[in-house]
Subunit: 431 residues, 2 copies
Amino acid sequence: MTSTALLTDRYELTMLDAALRDGTGHRRSVFEVFSRRLSGGRRYGVLAGTGRVLDAVTRFRFGGPELEWLAAEHVVSPATIDWLADYRFSGSISGYREGELYFPNSPVLTVEGSFAEAVILETLILSVLNADSAIATAAARMVSAAHGRPLAEMGSRRTQERAAVSAARAAWIAGFAATSNLEAGRRWGVPTMGTAAHAFTLLHDSEEEAFRAQIEAMGADTTLLVDTYDVMSAVETAVRLAGPELGAVRIDSGDLPVVVQAVRARLDELGATGTRITVTNDLDEYAIAGLAASSVDSYGAGTRLVGGSGHPTAGFVFKLVERADDDGAMRPVAKKSVEKAGSGGRKWAFRRLEDGVAVEERVVVADDEPTLADARALVVPLVTAGTPDPAHVGVEGVRNAREHHARVLAELPPDAMRLSGGDTAIPTVLR
Amino acid sequence: MTSTALLTDRYELTMLDAALRDGTGHRRSVFEVFSRRLSGGRRYGVLAGTGRVLDAVTRFRFGGPELEWLAAEHVVSPATIDWLADYRFSGSISGYREGELYFPNSPVLTVEGSFAEAVILETLILSVLNADSAIATAAARMVSAAHGRPLAEMGSRRTQERAAVSAARAAWIAGFAATSNLEAGRRWGVPTMGTAAHAFTLLHDSEEEAFRAQIEAMGADTTLLVDTYDVMSAVETAVRLAGPELGAVRIDSGDLPVVVQAVRARLDELGATGTRITVTNDLDEYAIAGLAASSVDSYGAGTRLVGGSGHPTAGFVFKLVERADDDGAMRPVAKKSVEKAGSGGRKWAFRRLEDGVAVEERVVVADDEPTLADARALVVPLVTAGTPDPAHVGVEGVRNAREHHARVLAELPPDAMRLSGGDTAIPTVLR
């Protein structure tokens, strides 16, 4: 079990050290994760990473290597080293289900415990949620732009090697059909896909030999990459070798609408009417939307997807919103400074629906969860007394998140699917 | 030793399977990593990640969990499963030193071996180099914009949790002074920094109590965060409690040039003339340049840095440029398609200097390394017969990369430091 404990900003531990020293570290505290706005005028955000947060919190333990390094570097005092050696998060975490939509000021995650045990999770929780939600949000836009045609995530090479695995997971939750990333398949149960690159064609003495080798290894229903030399010749060679059972051809360059039209016509002339066309050239939601009228059967999205389509982080912050006084009474707290003022108090959230269509994100400050008519409660328990709910973690958590996402996306008004920047699909009302 | 073997696109393994089956997998092959252009009209790129590539290649082994999953999913044939079980890269890797500058078509990494053993490294090598170089390039621009004032990397929360560690490493190589990320300190020897967040102030009954607790734990030369409530009152409280020995104040919001000027004046009035001012509000190279005339002593950069300042990936590709025929003769190969045509043949590179100033990136196609007068040879051996050179890996590799970067950056013409988009600092000439 790899420790996640040092995936942390130094100031979390120096704050911890000072708070343990003066006794305030034991004050009961409530931290809230929210985003002040949606990047790029997006209409909605897609929360992803929750299951990975719960897993990472479970592995947030300080073992020998971590403690020795912290002691040698004098990051914290010896008393705090002892405290960290026994550390295990024993508080509670509640929040939006993974895959849920969010809007400005949606309280997507709430962490409750002592200040000491909760504050040190800040960096790790934000790293996971900011990265995964940025990609899930971009992915959801691409899925809606594709109007039902399947999308494969293939951006592993365009993002850090471990980030690639979580990117594939996030895209799958937001409706992608598959990934190229094998570890995402093994770790999270995401279907994997892929057949061959240009190097395979160049390795062989001719394109024909390469295609023949691929068909022998993978069968006639494989996907042949047809743009290493001349696309139309490659299409002819492909159908000649594989027959009309050829699964698909992939096009990775050129002016796609024009090339796709020519390839479709030639495939049909050759009798390969069932052979599909997949395109994979730096696609984002706008390029995908621009191919709506083309005979494309599926898309591969890489660079732009794993970069959050221009917005690689979701903008979530982790803020102390309530903490105990010396007498134990809870007190709402908030920063007051320019442009980053917060709103104190423990919060709950509801999505109000009219005739099954979402109309409002209602956020309510209250100690205990209120009830609201005609509204879906958004905050659910995720971790109780340090133990994660199994429905939200591992492969099962990912599957549930994907299903939940599809369900709640269907609640949005049709206008929410516009790709242009503008107002959020529904307003957030804080009561 | 965590395996890196499944941090791979599925098509690498399906190509491998087909190439082993028809015998072409044993053809001697040369793969080259290069970038067709620099993102965003940048003047130069900074190569980072090489040491992590060498480490990742060493850990590219298929153990029980990987092989069982590949077999169960039928990704490859049983014969290929056996081949993977024995896999260990035995070829050679050469390339630019980590920290080196690069330009369009610079051959930054060359991998030689059988097609089979080399092709399956593609995804992993690109993931590492694309992510790390994007961040190092953005970091170098911020460093030059800061004109000698130190910069701290603090973007962990705005990128995936493991990507955060490599981001801190890349920024350090490109001249940053420190990071907030503890694991980057432990794993790569990057100096770490950080004191407290707003939550620490909000935890206490007053700002004064928070500051007192921090000074008791960390000493008077700590950095106090002064923008939780009212900046000027906080500055007064800070100096009253810490005295003129107060190390620094940190400002994380507001109109920085205005606030900084007022804070500097107040600190000086209070006699805290040695107290430094650090600012940390979503800075990029342009915001840093805009603070050149302000009394800022150091900067913290996060969100924009780890997002590559708008360009989160470096655009490196991994292309087969030469491979053996059946008779063993090596043959240059290249893709011919629209907009992505390559240039075949094994390449070497030199930086031509005149009076110590770089004037040209000279790339030469040749089997063996030529010599060139008045030029620095850029390609060095990194892995020989599967074994990495220790000077390029681990903590020593990072230290060497940082030193090398500073040295070669100083060779660029002054014009190269312009932040605006435009031509590269020197042209690449392919002979």
